[in-house]
Amino acid sequence: MVRIEKLHKSYVTGSNSLHVLKGIDVEINKGEMVSIMGSSGSGKSTLLNIIGILDNYDEGGYYLDGELIKNMSEAKAAIHRNRTLGFVFQQFNLISFKNALENVALPLYYQKISRKKRNIIAMEYLDKMGLRDWAHHMPNELSGGQKQRIAIARSLISKPKVILADEPTGALDTTISYEVMDILKEINADGITMIIVTHEHDIAEMTQRIIRLKDGIIESNVTNGKKKQVAAV
């Protein structure tokens, strides 16, 4: 689903150049649930942003569903972000002046689906997240867990092939974090590829594979033994 070959990425600020990713080779299969770990500055978020076509890269190649993504125009990237990818952010990134229902329905607006139809679909997804009663509340009236569930509903509504989550539990307490992870696992069980960036070990433990980054290179790429054992039993 996602194939990355010899990927390099530098950030240039003024005369300084910061080499963040120094040749990443990784392949993530369809339906996998993978976590990317690493300390801050290791390049894990940058990698996720490149996978999400939110950022570009300098060298190497990135293939999404077999298609090379390089120097892509914003208009074309927008279609991929809209149809193929779904995003879950640490800070939720809900639009503050839209209520929960409108936030969830927004990706469908960019698919030119009528307001009535997209609101019906959005309500279904909110219902799945157990938030039907909160549909007409504004984001600032909701708790962190509720906001993240709305963000997840929003990422799912366009039926993406890959969901990219950048520290999805970073702003939540442990109980809520586990609830969110359960939801993500359920989504993965439906066949959607899931890539999660996290620095929390217990969160990473819940995924099938852990990719560890250190200083811009892959330090280890191991299939989660514990998970395998559970699966074997």
Partner: protein
């Protein structure tokens, strides 16, 4: 194509950002409102002053004898100069560039004029038919003096509008006889000439009345018009007249106080220049106001886009194309500025119409008050009239503001649409 969904999106954004919407709208509406009031006030002032010129032909010139101030050829200074019929004949025969000329023998103020039991004191003016275009009198009913009146020395009279009101009330005056200094004159017409005192006159045929009122050959004033002469040509004609009369009356040609000449055209031109200056000044302030408005709107649009950078990042992550981002920001900007601009324009025009209405009412009241009082003077000059801004300018200014507001929003919107979404998302 009208995209109803996009507009619902825009309206919900506007509704959720009331203060921002209000500030943008206010700065636009205020700018247009001020511009319209400013230009309207300027026009009102000009209309009023120019109206005061309307009552005379714009190319009229008035000539009268006064007192010498320089001794000349053994004659002492302080000598009084009296114009005569001969002066009139000479000017008529010898000065080129004059198209109308009429002598006037005036008896200012208190000449008793009566009809039946009604009477009043009015100025008597004895003139030739060509006085009408010089004075710019409009005949309301009947006719003005004609050549036959002069030839046959008819005892006829043309009365001013207010004389008619005072003597005849609602009655038809044409064909009636009025007494001017106890001599009967037949009313042949009623004239109107601007406002106020010029309508409180009775106009008689020059030759017969000059004789009747012991005028001899004396002429009070000679009025001329100079055709379509330019201000410069008119000054030259004025100079020729001065030289000719100075020669006849043995006056130093440099002695300007001996022969009075009032040249309406050069004065009109001067006034026009003054108004050109005032207009330039108003435009300067108006354009300044407009620029302040443009800067205000541009500033708000810049802030709006900055404010929405993160939101734009979120929208892009969810699949917004650059076009949809620019279109969203721009449509919103154009919608606010157009609506507010239109509102400001309508309000401005309404205010000016209101002022116009009140001014017209006060002018009418003033005229009525002047008519009811019998004294010859009065009729305050009008200082303000028809204050209307050119609607074309108002629309143009509104469009300019809309375009500038849109441009100010466009540049950062394009930038926001172009940058990678991750930068927009990181923006705080």
């Amino acid at each position: 194509m009208f995209d109803i969904d996009k507009w619902q999106e825009i309206f919900s954004t506007l509704k959720q950002n009331k203060l921002r919407t209000f500030l943008t709208a206010f700065s636009i509406a205020w700018g247009i409102l001020l511009l319209i009031i400013l230009l309207g006030a300027g026009n009102g002032l000009q209309n009023a002053v120019m109206q005061n010129f309307e009552s005379n032909a714009k190319n009229a010139m008035w000539i009268w004898g006064d007192r010498t101030s320089i001794e000349y050829k053994g004659l002492q200074a302080g000598r009084e100069i009296q114009l005569t019929n001969k002066d009139f004949e000479i000017l008529r025969g010898q000065i080129s560039g004059i198209d109308n000329i009429s002598p006037q023998f005036n008896i200012w103020g208190g000449t008793s004029v009566s009809y039946g039991n009604e009477f009043g004191n009015f100025t008597v003016q004895c003139v030739l038919p060509s006085h009408q275009p010089i004075e710019g009198s409009k005949v309301l009913t009947g006719r003005y003096l004609n050549e036959i009146d002069i030839k046959q020395r008819r005892k006829v009279v043309v009365i001013g509008e207010e004389v008619q009101k005072a003597l005849f009330k609602e009655k038809e005056p044409i064909g009636e006889y009025i007494r001017v200094n106890d001599i009967l004159f037949k009313v042949i017409g009623v004239y109107s000439d601007g406002n106020g005192f010029q309508n409180r006159r009775v106009v008689l045929p020059f030759n017969s009345a000059q004789a009747i009122f012991n005028g001899g050959v004396r002429v009070s004033t000679i009025g001329v018009t100079t055709g379509d002469a330019t201000a410069e040509q008119s000054m030259q004609i004025e100079q020729k007249i001065r030289e000719k009369l100075s020669y006849i009356h043995t006056v130093n040609p440099l002695d300007k106080s001996a022969i009075g000449i009032h040249n309406t055209l050069s004065e009109y031109k001067q006034t026009q220049n003054v108004f050109f200056g005032i207009k330039m000044f108003l435009w300067f302030i108006g354009i300044g106001t407009l620029i302040a408005g443009i800067v205000g709107v541009s500033n708000i649009m810049l802030i709006v886009v900055k404010d929405r950078t993160r939101e734009i990042g979120v929208r892009k992550a969810l699949g917004a194309t650059p076009y949809s981002v620019v279109s969203l920001v721009l449509s919103e900007a154009v919608f606010i500025t157009t609506t507010a601009g239109y509102f400001g324009m309508v309000l401005g025009v309404a205010i000016m119409e209101g002022v116009d209405f009140l001014v017209d009412k006060s002018i009418a009241a003033n005229a009525a008050a002047a008519a009811s009082s019998s004294d010859a003077a009065g009729g305050a000059p009008i200082l303000f009239m028809n204050p209307n801004a050119d609607i074309g300018i108002a629309v143009g200014a509104t469009i300019l503001l809309v375009v500038c507001g849109a441009l100010a929003g466009l540049i950062p919107a394009l930038k926001a649409a172009k940058i990678r979404p991750i930068e927009a998302l990181r923006y705080e």
